[in-house]
C-alpha cells in the first residue's frame, strides 16, 4: 500500500490534533472540549515527569504484580505441532485482566489534577472492577455505568464492584450495553465538569484517550519484548491479541510496530459470523464513521445509525474500535481476523484442558486464531498471544452454552 511505503514509523501517532491518519480526532460537545484540552495538558506534563513514572512503576510492581510472566505454552505447542506459542500472562494481574494497567495510570493522573470523583463505563465489568479497585485504594468516589443487559450477564463483577465501594448505575437507554454505558458516562461528565475525571477503559474516545490508554497499556509489549529477547535471544515472529476497543492489543503491538519482521494479528469477535450481521467485528464488517469522540470503523446502518454489536464476550461487545487500530488496518501493518462465538468456546476449553489456564472469553478469541496460524508455521517460529484476562467471570455463561451446570 502507498501509505505504508511512505511511512518511516508506525509509532509516532497521533498528530497534535489527535489523528492517526484520518482516524481519531475530538468529536465532542463544547462542554467537554475544555476538559479534554485540560486532560491533554495534564497528561503531557505527567508523561514528562519522572516522579509520575516512578509512582506508576511502584504500583505495577507491588500492587499489580508486574511484570507478568511470558509463559511457554508447551502442551498447546505440542498439540498444534507448529509455531512455539508463548502466552503473555496479563490475566495474572491484580483484578484478573490488563485493565488495571490503564486504570492506575489514569487514576494517578486524576489525583495530580485534583479530581475527586471518578466515572467509568464497563462492558464485561473488568474495567469497572479495575476502576473500583483503584478508587478504593486511593479513597476516591467511583461511579460505574454498565448496560442493564451486562449487569444481568456479569453478576459476579457487579458484586465485586459493590464490595469495593463503587456505585453501579445500570444503563437502560438504547441497546443497554457498552456503547450506551459510554454515552451515559459522557452525559455524567457533561453534567459534573468540576470534580469528575472520566476513566475510559479502552483505547477509544476523543483525543487524548486513545494515545493515553495505549501508552499505559504498552507496558505489556515492552515487557514481552524484553522477556522474549531474554528467553530466545531474538524478537518474536508474530503477535496475536483479541480486539474489542483494542487496548490490550495496542498495548502488546505498539512496541513492535516498527519491527518489520514481526507479523501482527488482531482478532475481532465475529459473534454468529460476520455474514450473519450479529457480530462485533468493526473492521471486518463495518465502515468509517464518528462516534464517542472519534472517527473509526463502526457497525451501522445505511443512515449512519449505530448498530448493536453481538458477541458471547461482553468485553468485545462494542460496535466500534480504537482509532489507531482503524489506521493500522488501513495501512496494512496489522492483519485483522475474527473468531466466532463457538470457536471462542472451543479455544476456551482447549487452553483450560491443555495448560490448566482458564482464559477469559475475550482472549479465547485470540487463542482460536493463534492455534490456526501456529499450525501453518515452522517449529522455530516464535509467537506471543496476549492472555489479557482470566476466565473466572465467564464460567457461568460458558456453562450455560455448554450445558455443564448439572
Amino acid at each position: 500500500m502507498t501509505i505504508q511505503q511512505t511511512l518511516n514509523s508506525f509509532r509516532t501517532g497521533p498528530d497534535e490534533t489527535g489523528h492517526f491518519g484520518n482516524f481519531g480526532g475530538r468529536f465532542v460537545a463544547e462542554t467537554l472540549m475544555p476538559l479534554i484540552l485540560d486532560l491533554e495538558k495534564a497528561y503531557t506534563e505527567a508523561k514528562a515527569d519522572p516522579a509520575f513514572h516512578a509512582e506508576l512503576t511502584s504500583f505495577h510492581t507491588h500492587y499489580v504484580g508486574r511484570p507478568s510472566p511470558l509463559y511457554f505454552a508447551e502442551r498447546l505447542t505440542e498439540h498444534v505441532g507448529g509455531a512455539k506459542i508463548y502466552l503473555k500472562r496479563d490475566e495474572l494481574n491484580h483484578t484478573g485482566a490488563h485493565k488495571i494497567n490503564n486504570v492506575l495510570g489514569q487514576i494517578l493522573l486524576a489525583r495530580r489534577m485534583g479530581k475527586t470523583r471518578i466515572i467509568a463505563e464497563t462492558g464485561a465489568g473488568q474495567h469497572g472492577v479495575a476502576t473500583a479497585t483503584a478508587c478504593a485504594r486511593f479513597g476516591l468516589k467511583c461511579v460505574v455505568y454498565m448496560g442493564a443487559v451486562d449487569v444481568e450477564r456479569q453478576k459476579p463483577n457487579v458484586f465485586r464492584m459493590r464490595m469495593l465501594g463503587a456505585e453501579i448505575v445500570p444503563v437502560v437507554s438504547g441497546s443497554k450495553t457498552l456503547k450506551d454505558a459510554m454515552n451515559e458516562a459522557l452525559r455524567d461528565w457533561v453534567s459534573n465538569v468540576e470534580d469528575t475525571f472520566y476513566c475510559i477503559g479502552t483505547s477509544a474516545g476523543p483525543h487524548p484517550y486513545p494515545m493515553m490508554v495505549r501508552d499505559f497499556q504498552s507496558i505489556i509489549g515492552k515487557e514481552a519484548r524484553e522477556q522474549m529477547l531474554e528467553r530466545e535471544g531474538r524478537l518474536p515472529d508474530s503477535l496475536v491479541a483479541c480486539i474489542g476497543g483494542g487496548s490490550n492489543a495496542i498495548g502488546l503491538f505498539h512496541p513492535f510496530l516498527d519491527d518489520a519482521s514481526v507479523a501482527i494479528y488482531g482478532v475481532e469477535a465475529a459473534g454468529h459470523g460476520v455474514a450473519s450481521g450479529a457480530h462485533a467485528a468493526s473492521l471486518n464488517g463495518g465502515r468509517p464513521g464518528v462516534l464517542h469522540g472519534n472517527r473509526t470503523y463502526l457497525l451501522m446502518d445505511a443512515d449512519g445509525q449505530i448498530a448493536e454489536a453481538h458477541s458471547i464476550s461482553a468485553g468485545l461487545d462494542y460496535p466500534g474500535i480504537g482509532p489507531e487500530h482503524a489506521w493500522l488496518h488501513d495501512t496494512g501493518r496489522v492483519t485483522y481476523l475474527s473468531t466466532t462465538d463457538s470457536e471462542a468456546l472451543e479455544a476456551f476449553q482447549l487452553l483450560s484442558k491443555l495448560e490448566g489456564i482458564i482464559p477469559a472469553l475475550e482472549p479465547a478469541h485470540a487463542i482460536a486464531r493463534a492455534v490456526e496460524i501456529a499450525a501453518s508455521k515452522p517449529k522455530d517460529h516464535l509467537m506471543i498471544v496476549n492472555l489479557c484476562g482470566r476466565g473466572d467471570k465467564d464460567i457461568f455463561s460458558v456453562a450455560e452454552h455448554l450445558g455443564g451446570m448439572e
Binding site: 462542554t31 475544555p34 438504547g174 453534567s191 445509525q305
Partner: protein, 275 residues
C-alpha cells in the same frame, strides 16, 4: 450573505422582543405527524424552528430527547426523510428559519457535500451539530459556511474567556448559549447568571445570543428573554409529544394541539418582555 436567520433576528430586534426558538424531533412520533407539528409551529408563536435529526447515540441529550429520537428511528425516519420534511414545510412557508440539529455521524455517512447541497436546496438555513467543536471545523463547519448555511455553535459555562473567540470564529446566524453544564432537559438554569453570561458572550460578538437547556414554562421563557436575544425550548415540547401518545406510542388527535398549546404559552412569556 444574509440568511433567513439573520433577517428574522433583525426584524425581532426592531420589534423590541426576543425570539422563540422551538425544537422538535423529525419523525416523532411519526413522519407525517412531525411534519404537521412543524407546519403548525409558526402560527403558534415559534420564530425559528430547530428540527432534530434523530441519532441512536445522542451523547449530549437527556432522556426526553433520547426517547424522541428512538421513537423517530423506530418509525423509520432517516436523514433523507428529515430533509423531505423541510422541503414540504417550505411549500407554504418561505420565511421561518429552519435549523437542523443533531450529531455528525448520519451527516458523515450521507456525505457532507451531498448533505449540504440537499439541505440548502430543501430550504434549511442553519446547522447545529453538537459533536463538531471548532477543533473539527474542517469536517463540516467550513463546508457548511461555503454552501451558504449558517453554522450555529454552542457556547457553554465551560467555554472561558480564552476559548470564546475560538468558539465564536466561524459561528454565524446566532450563538446558542447552553445555560447549564449538563444534558438537555435536565436542571433549570440559574436565570440571574444567564444575563451575565450573555453579556460575556456579547463582548466578543455582534451575533444574537439565544439561550437554551432547561426552559419549561412561560415564566422561564420571560426570565431568559430579559437577558437574551432568543429563548430555546426543546425537551418540554418533545415531552408534550410523548404525553399525548396512546398506549402503543402512536399519535392521537391531541398530539399536534399539545405541542402548539405549549408553544403558544411559552411564546406569550417571551413576548411579554419588551426590550
Amino acid at each position: 450573505m444574509t440568511t433567513r436567520i439573520d433577517t428574522r433576528f433583525a426584524a425581532l430586534k426592531s420589534e423590541g422582543r426576543a425570539a422563540l426558538v422551538t425544537f422538535v424531533m423529525a419523525g416523532d412520533p411519526d413522519h407525517a405527524t412531525a411534519l404537521e407539528i412543524i407546519k403548525a409551529l409558526p402560527k403558534a408563536g415559534a420564530d425559528l424552528i430547530e428540527i432534530g435529526m434523530p441519532f441512536t447515540d445522542p451523547m449530549a441529550d437527556g432522556p426526553a430527547i433520547q426517547a424522541a429520537g428512538l421513537r423517530a428511528l423506530a418509525g423509520g425516519e432517516t436523514l433523507h426523510s428529515t430533509i423531505d420534511i423541510v422541503r414540504a414545510f417550505r411549500v407554504n412557508d418561505t420565511e421561518t428559519p429552519i435549523i437542523l440539529m443533531g450529531y455528525f455521524n448520519p451527516i458523515y455517512i450521507y456525505g457532507v457535500e451531498t448533505f449540504l447541497k440537499d439541505a440548502k436546496e430543501a430550504g434549511v438555513d442553519g446547522l447545529i451539530v453538537v459533536d463538531c467543536p471548532p477543533e473539527e471545523d474542517d469536517e463540516l463547519c467550513k463546508p457548511a459556511l461555503k454552501a451558504g448555511l449558517n453554522f450555529i455553535r454552542l457556547a457553554t459555562p465551560t467555554t472561558d474567556e480564552k476559548r470564546l473567540p475560538k468558539v465564536l470564529s466561524n459561528t454565524s446566524g446566532f450563538v446558542y448559549y447552553v445555560s447549564i453544564t449538563g444534558i438537555t432537559g435536565s436542571a433549570t438554569p440559574d436565570f440571574s447568571k444567564v444575563a451575565t453570561a450573555v453579556a460575556r458572550i456579547k463582548a466578543h460578538t455582534q451575533l444574537p445570543v439565544a439561550v437554551g437547556f432547561g426552559v419549561k414554562t412561560a415564566s422561564d421563557a420571560s426570565a431568559i428573554a430579559k437577558g437574551a436575544d432568543g429563548v430555546v425550548v426543546g425537551s418540554a415540547l418533545v415531552e408534550a409529544v410523548r404525553k399525548s401518545l396512546d398506549a402503543d406510542g402512536k399519535a392521537t388527535s391531541k398530539t399536534i394541539g399539545a405541542v402548539t398549546a405549549l408553544v403558544s404559552e411559552i411564546a406569550a412569556g417571551v413576548r411579554a418582555v419588551k426590550k
